[in-house]
Each structure stands twice: as C-alpha cells, then as structure tokens.
C-alpha cells in the first residue's frame, strides 16, 4: 500500500512580522517522514542599486492574495510528493533587514522540496496580487515588474518539461 503522508499546508497574509525558522520547523517537528526541508526567506534590502531604501510598502488584494497562493500551493502538492508547505507573505510597511515573505517545503526527498519551493516563488512573484512601493529619501515609486520573473514562471508551464519528482 502506498504510504499517504499527513499533509500540512499553511497560507497566511499578515502585516505582523513572522519567525521563518519557527514556521519551517513546524513542518518537520514531531514526525520522522520529512527527509528534506527547504526554506526561502525574502528580506527587505537596504538599497536598490546604489540608492538607499527607507522602507518598502506592500499593497495587496485581500481575499484574492490568499486564494491565488492557495491555488498554487495545491498545484505544487499535486506535482511533487510533498509532506508540508507553508507560505507567509506580509503587507504594509517593511523596513530594511525585515523579512517580507517565506516559503517552506517539506518532502521525503530533496529534489521535490527544492522544485516546489522554486515553483511557488516564481508564481508568487508574477501571479500573487501584491505590489511593492519603494520609499527613498526623494519620494516613493512603484517597483516595476521584471521580465526575468515572467520568464522564470513560464518555465514551469513549458510543455514537456520534466520535473525531478523524487530522488
């Protein structure tokens, strides 16, 4: 009989800071079927090019942000043999050095955990309804979307692409 793991998925949108390490630990704690845990943390940088950043402000579309992320988490769970997935994304004003968002993926095997984390990041960047405004000494501007992010997201949709689903 195929082993069906107990699956844990968490999606949270919040203005409060979060503890990425503690959140990741929840995926592997108290169980012994997780062999690989990948955590990505996106952090607010203190500069853009050579210009200092005072803060980022993240606007989001409440309701749609959760739904869109949950849809991609469900797709990741369908594509890779995962045991747990956590996505937390902050909105509001965030200062340099603070965490903006995190993705954690747990699996029996490393390639599934890595692939799912990258897949979720690529989709979050291009499909989750969040918009970054950057605040500098001389005013605020909206961050432009990057063509490289669209390209990164598209590689997951390319026909015939093979995924390393297990070790």
């Amino acid at each position: 009989m195929r082993y069906i793991p107990r699956m844990t998925t968490t999606v949270r949108i919040q203005s409060e800071p979060f503890d990425a390490a503690a959140e990741a630990k929840k995926l592997s704690g108290g169980r012994t079927d997780v062999g690989a845990l990948v955590t990505f943390t996106g952090i607010c940088r203190g500069n853009e090019g050579s210009e200092p950043i005072v803060a980022l402000t993240l606007e989001h579309y409440p309701g749609m942000a959760e739904a869109e992320i949950e849809r991609h988490v469900a797709e990741a769970v369908a594509r890779w043999p995962l045991i747990g997935v956590t996505v937390i994304h902050r909105h509001g004003r965030i200062q340099p050095g603070e965490d903006i968002m995190m993705v954690a993926t747990a699996s029996s095997h490393r390639q599934a955990a890595f692939a799912a984390a990258e897949f979720l990041m690529d989709y979050l960047k291009t499909r989750a309804p969040f918009w970054k405004q950057v605040e500098k000494a001389d005013g605020t501007t909206w961050v432009d979307a990057k063509a490289t992010d669209d390209a990164a997201a598209e590689r997951w949709a390319a026909p015939g692409r093979k995924h390393a689903a297990a070790e």
Binding site: W131, K132, A145
Partner: protein
C-alpha cells in the same frame, strides 16, 4: 458592478473602488478598459496603456478578451511585484 483598483492604477483613478453601471455593448474586460478610459482625465491616465494593466474577475486572473458576464467584482492593477 463593483470595480477595484490597486497600486498606481488606484492612485491615477484617485479611488480604491466604486460601483458603476456598465453600458450595453461593453462585453469584455478590454472593452471595459476602453470605456473606463473615456470617463475623464484621471481614467484616461490610468488606462492609457491597457496592455500593461492586469484584471481579475471575482478574484481570479482574466485576460482582456474575457467576457464580463455576471461578474460582481472586477479589479484592475499593474503587473504584480510581490514575493
């Protein structure tokens, strides 16, 4: 029908949301953007390059050719920059 605007689309339109009566003949998201652009200077500015504007019907991404149908909420916003 409720319209919502985010990021610089919201800033240019000057409001976060509004209720509108969409005239007959406006059937798709693309046609809705063309109609909105005709509603005044701030709308013309917000929708002057509809190719860069993204839309969602009832919190799901849609394309310009998608019919409005019986949507209760339509949102317009720039390309997303989260993550």
């Amino acid at each position: 029908m409720k319209l919502r605007y985010f990021a610089w689309v919201r800033e240019r339109v000057g409001k976060a949301e509004e209720d509108v009566d969409v005239p007959d003949g406006v059937a798709t998201i693309g046609e809705l953007m063309t109609w909105l652009a005709s509603r005044g200077e701030e709308y013309a500015h917000a929708f002057d390059n509809p190719k860069v504007i993204r839309a969602a019907i009832d919190k799901t991404h849609v394309k310009p050719q998608t019919p409005i149908g019986t949507a209760s909420e339509i949102a317009f916003f720039p390309p997303m920059t989260g993550g």
